[in-house]
Amino acid sequence: MIRCEEIMAWVRELDLVYQSNKASLTELDAAIGDADHGINMVRGFSAAAKELSEQTPPDIGAILKALAMILMKKVGGASGPLYGTFFLKASMTCNGRTSIGAEDLVVLFEAGVAGIRQRGKAKEGDKTMIDAWEPAVRAMREAFSGGGDVSEILRAAVSAGESGRDATISLAARKGRASYLGERSRGHQDPGATSAVLMLKAARDTLA
């Protein structure tokens, strides 16, 4: 059972995780982008952790929606609208709910990732966060079908996400800022795929 409590813990954990990975995410972005991804994520999730602790929304849908709004306002760049959309679409799967189970969690992530896909129009192989998200939600669905609990589902997500993230290294980017580099983007890990895996790990550590 995942309650508001755990979701709030997730948000706080994301704040901490992005703070401690701010420099490394920014460095990845310096190589094939504009050196701000870690900064963007910290700006968004610091604000989120702070504002949410003050307003404490009544249910999971409300928390995620508030989170989405804060990210849209604070992050900017490509990742702001994409992560914002993720949480907005995710929030719609659990409006008014104060607890959710394993299947709800899978549905939540699937909806969120569908939002990113629709918003950013990237496909797997384009060297974006989608390369971490798509295998991750596929693995979640599989783990759930195989009878996995929340913890197993999230562990499967992390490990699939990590493989997808690592696979971005050898890809040439076709979406986002790195696509301007074309072939020269090969050999570098995508910052967004990296921040996506951090989000999954934080979920594993707080929701299960």
């Binding site: 094939i32 050196a35 900017g76 490509a78 702001g80």
Partner: protein
């Protein structure tokens, strides 16, 4: 990293305070959310021209707010697009009943955030049109990628579209004009040194003692290739070939050019480069009818320059010559 600032996280807001203090006669600043708007906004019955993007490219865009150019500008964090709430509020502050045009440089972040803002505004009953600017020939265009980047043409388009709006042209016509201008413009840049994002604290990229990055983006994104530095003459020739053969520009064409510094290049070098460009244009039979030479779309303290050419007929030249009164571009009565 040495920068003239206080806390890196406050750079954008504190710079806005300086803008407000210096240019209260032409603009107003909102801080929460952050935007700059013409002092006389909303201008009744005239189309509002709005642009925005990451900060760090000054004077773009705030320096172009004022009669005859932008109605409003939305500054994001350094090199990070603004957010929908900023854009929405600025749109509301600007709209004088005739709608608002968004001039958006083609970066995923900018496109997505302006898209959200446009949806919010349209659903609130404000007519909004968006024109994506993508003039950078350094980047290969393809429908499967994010496409070309928007760079120097933005300055020229903001001036001309601003003049059209000031004349009272309607939203549809202004939008058509902006699209045409974008199609007729091409740019390319080169970097001699990196910029340093204040919160990142170190240079975005490293260049060897004699290396340059050809086709650099305005956020320090790597470009076409890294090369050994060449004399200015050869750099201008290389970039001219890339730009002029792309549209292509034809013998006899009239053009407006922007010879732009990236922020850390001395003006003496920019004028030397302009002299080279003028010579190349003459050789190619192109007529430079108007020009800007200076720091107009920058990348913090980066050393380097970019060139933009915009094919222009008499109508466009006329709009170019219309009066403009902003912090950084000013002429006419």
């Amino acid at each position: 990293m040495k920068k003239l600032m206080n806390d890196p996280g406050d750079l954008v807001v504190e710079s806005l305070r300086g803008m407000e203090a210096a240019h209260g006669d032409i603009l107003r600043v909102s801080y929460e959310p952050a935007y700059i708007v013409r002092a006389d906004a909303p201008v009744r019955g005239k189309v509002g021209v709005l642009s925005g993007g990451g900060s760090g490219h000054e004077p773009m865009h705030g320096g172009y707010v004022g009669p005859g150019m932008l109605g409003a500008a939305c500054p994001g964090a350094i090199f990070t697009s603004p957010t929908p709430d900023q854009i929405e509020e600025a749109t509301r502050a600007l709209d004088g009943g005739a709608g608002v045009i968004y001039l958006v440089k083609n970066y995923t972040g900018d496109v997505l955030n302006f898209e959200s803002a446009a949806e919010l505004c349209v659903s609130a009953g404000i007519p909004v049109e968006t024109v994506i600017i993508d003039d950078d020939v350094a980047v290969q265009d393809s429908s499967f990628t994010a496409g070309r980047r928007g760079v120097g043409a933005t300055v020229l388009i903001e001036k001309i579209v601003g003049a059209a709006a000031e004349r009272g042209m309607g939203l549809a016509e202004v939008t058509g004009l902006a699209r045409t201008l974008n199609e007729e413009a091409r740019s390319m840049g080169v970097a001699l040194s990196s910029c340093t994002v204040p919160e990142a604290g170190k240079p975005t990229f490293d260049l060897g003692a004699d290396e340059i990055e050809l086709g650099i983006g305005i956020h320090g994104e790597p470009g076409r290739e890294r090369r050994t530095i060449r004399p200015a003459r050869e750099l201008v020739e290389y970039m001219s070939e890339a730009i002029f053969s792309d549209l292509p520009f034809h013998r006899g064409d009239s053009i407006i050019v922007l010879l732009n510094g990236m922020g850390g290049t001395p003006l003496i070098e920019l004028y030397l480069l302009y002299g080279e460009l003028e010579r190349v244009a003459r050789t190619r039979g192109l007529h430079i009818r108007r020009r800007l030479v200076g720091n107009y779309i920058t990348s913090l303290e980066m050393q380097g320059f970019s060139m933009t050419a915009l094919r222009s007929d008499d109508r466009i030249l006329g709009l170019w010559d219309d009066p403009v009164h902003t912090a950084s571009i000013r002429w006419g009565s």
